[in-house]
């Protein structure tokens, strides 16, 4: 009996410890990383955790609504006798995996009989559509809320006043970090104090260098895109394309950083923005070329093309993961070794937040594109982000020093979310939408076989509902809202009108701010004028003041003004 009680107590205290440590995990993040490296590095890890949540949700939804019905219906994958599981499949995603529920091709297109009639086609379509819409809404809300909280009038954060009074991070407790920050602040302030006007020839030279750098980076980008398109032909070397893509994503940004060093920028922020813009363009170009190849060549040449695209995406995700780990190794560990032992001039590397954030945004985009073609890809993504989180954390602690620039973390969160949403999420949505709308699903596999386009699933369903006398509301909504053009036209007009009204209100408020500022200055002048007059009055009539018993007049006036 006593053994049972002890084990129960032991178990309870163990559970308590585990739950406490999970709760402390979040606060550990902030105290360990935020205290030592500052809020901008911490924002990277918070962002990674947030993206992980997207994938967890996606996996649960896909597994629950798509995979489980399929597994219940047909448990064993219909693998032909020639293929068996060899370990290589984890790397290439083809072979044995091709016939499992990993990819689009293994899902049936029938109505699965069972406890309830589950229309697999509708299930697949609506799960993916609803997930994408929910993702979009979550991103928009997050962007809007962080923009609202962190909107700053353009110049204040680069001004001297802000740097002097608001920029010091009180939570830094590490002596080296504090020393570093003081040095950087000193450098930045003395730079500002010494800034001189540039002559026009210097300005022309800077502009020429800037233009040249842009031309070089654009041509590099286009060259990468063209070479990827050319290499796509070599399908038999299955890992060649992912390898080259990841290699380019790793090496070309180094060139961009090199160009950056030669250019002159008026402010630190512009430099980072230009660098980020170039990196984004590179990745989007490569992704665009790949998608073009898949949509136009693979979709017409292969019989079960969605599974082929799914496999290609799986390989991209996997090789990208390996390269991220390698990048962490080279970028942080080796740089640390080189910086401390071989070339002490270089010093300890910093944790490059912008580059790392861009990498995880790109990884997430691959997952978003891949959801349609491979419903279980989020599972791989979850593992990837999970492992990446811990590797990066360890690497950060061991190898890196706190970043030099006083990072404006609040603005960075807005920028990260905006970057995630605008080019990358919308691009992924566009690709999936284009696939669903225009491309013919493959005829012999997958849930949409035999239809003209994926979207016609809804039409077929509507016809069915109509003929069997189903829900009138749904049919009405479909015919008059979704299919009618007048509805979208009206919505667009209403939204434009609302935007115009808000814009006018904000213009009016800007003018009001200018007026109020002027009023404050005038009040200040009034105050000093009146105080002077008061003092003159007191000096000229000292007798009356001594007889004044009522405490109402002068002292309260003085109190009111100071």
């Amino acid at each position: 009996m006593s053994i049972n009680k002890n084990t129960i107590l032991c178990y309870r205290s163990y559970c308590l410890n585990v739950s406490q440590s999970f709760r402390r995990c979040g606060s550990n993040l902030r105290s360990e990383i935020g205290g030592k490296f500052g809020t901008s590095v911490q924002s990277y890890f918070v962002f990674l955790k947030w993206l992980l949540m997207f994938n967890v949700f996606s996996f649960l939804v896909n597994f629950g609504f798509i995979t489980i019905p399929q597994l219940v219906y047909d448990f064993s994958p219909n693998v032909p006798n020639t293929t068996s599981f060899r370990g290589l499949e984890i790397l290439t995603g083809a072979g044995y995996f091709n016939y499992t529920v990993m990819y689009y091709g293994s899902y049936s297109n029938e109505t699965l009989e069972g406890a309830v009639d589950y229309k697999m086609q509708l299930g697949y379509f609506f799960t993916i559509a609803v997930y994408m819409v929910l993702c979009g809404i979550a991103l928009i809300f997050s962007m809007a809320s962080s923009f609202k909280a962190n909107y700053v009038l353009a110049d204040t954060t680069s001004g001297g006043a802000w740097q002097l009074l608001c920029s010091w991070d009180f939570s830094m407790t590490n002596e080296r970090a504090v020393r570093q920050r003081k040095n950087n602040l000193r450098e930045s302030l003395s730079e500002k104090a010494q800034r001189k006007q540039l002559t026009s020839s210097e300005k022309l030279r800077h502009f020429g260098i800037y233009l040249g750098a842009w031309l070089l980076s654009s041509s590099l980008t286009v060259g990468c895109g063209a070479s990827i398109f050319f290499l796509c032909r070599y399908e038999q070397l299955t890992l060649l394309v992912p390898f080259m893509v990841s290699l380019m994503n790793m090496v070309v940004p180094l060139f961009f950083s090199l160009f950056n060093k030669f250019e002159h920028y008026s402010s630190q922020r512009r430099q980072i923005y230009v660098l980020v813009a170039r990196n984004v363009l590179l990745r989007m170009c490569i992704l665009g070329v790949l998608c073009y190849y898949w949509m136009n060549v693979v979709a017409t040449e292969y019989s079960c093309w969605e599974s082929v695209v799914g496999q290609a995406l799986y390989r991209l995700v996997f090789v990208d993961f390996i390269f991220l780990l390698l990048g962490s190794f080279f970028g942080e560990f080796l740089s640390n070794v080189v910086g401390t032992r071989l070339l002490p001039r270089l010093g300890i590397p910093e944790f490059d937040v912008a580059r790392n954030v861009l990498e995880i945004i790109y990884a997430q985009t691959l997952a978003w594109i891949g959801i349609y073609f491979s419903p279980l890809l989020p599972a791989i993504q979850i593992l990837k982000f999970f492992i990446l989180f811990y590797i990066k954390k360890v690497s950060l602690m061991q190898n890196c020093q706190p970043p030099r620039r006083t990072g404006r973390a609040a603005q960075m969160k807005t920028i990260f979310t905006a970057l995630l949403f605008f080019p990358f999420f919308l691009g992924a949505l566009a690709i999936v939408g284009y696939t669903a709308w225009s491309l013919t699903p493959s005829k012999h596999c997958g849930p949409f076989r035999g239809l003209d386009s994926t979207f016609s699933v809804v039409e077929v369903w509507m016809v069915q509902l109509n003929s069997t006398g189903g829900s009138e509301v749904v049919i009405f909504v479909y015919q008059n809202v979704i299919r009618s053009e007048i509805f979208y036209f009206l919505i667009t007009i209403i939204i434009l009108v609302i935007v115009y009204i808000f814009w006018q209100v904000s213009q009016g408020r800007k003018q009001l701010i200018v007026l109020l500022r002027q009023q404050i200055v005038n009040e200040g002048k009034d105050k000093s004028f009146l105080l002077e007059k008061l003092q003159n009055l007191q000096k000229s009539q000292p007798n009356i003041r001594s007889k004044n018993h009522k405490k109402v007049g002068i002292p309260s006036l003085l109190a009111r003004f100071s």
């Binding site: 105290s31 935020g34 809020t39 001004g159 001297g160 009074l165 608001c166 003395s190 200040g524 105050k527």
Partner: protein, 187 residues
Amino acid sequence: MGNKQTIFTDEQLDAYQDCTFFTRKEILRLHGRYHELAPHLVPMDYTNDPDCKVPLSLIVNMPELSENPFRNRIVESFSEDGAGNLSFNEFVDMFSVLSETAPRELKAIYAFKIYDYNVDNYLCKEDLEKVLNKLTKEELTPEEVELVCEKTIEEADLDGDNKLSYGDFENMISRAPDFLSTFHIRI
């Protein structure tokens, strides 16, 4: 949880919870930290409100404050006597204002007090020069210091009296969204 502690009465803990941004556990933990600063000075039993103050020199050696360039001013602005000797109430108050959950207005008031070295309710040029020297380890030339302070006053001074009143300071803080997270000490 059934923790029977004898340091504070329940009413005291409730009062602390109401007046600060800490929970009961955090207040007990803070008391532990306060006690270990001066174990011979600080009694373990606070039920009858003992009147003891820990001197400035011991408080600024806490790991959370030891690297902060403004540590002396922080402790002074929370002490009643202005010399930096904190009673436990003032100690809790200090970390409560500097905690994550304190509102922006409260933090702005105390930030202003911290930067106001000559305690005249204005941030005049001398105050700003002292702040700058603390932040840059006094390695800027006097001309640069002068320039930066002049620019600061120019940017932030709204009513044109060549020094920053609390209103000017608050206006500048309201345009800095990071302030809440930078003006924060974790304990």
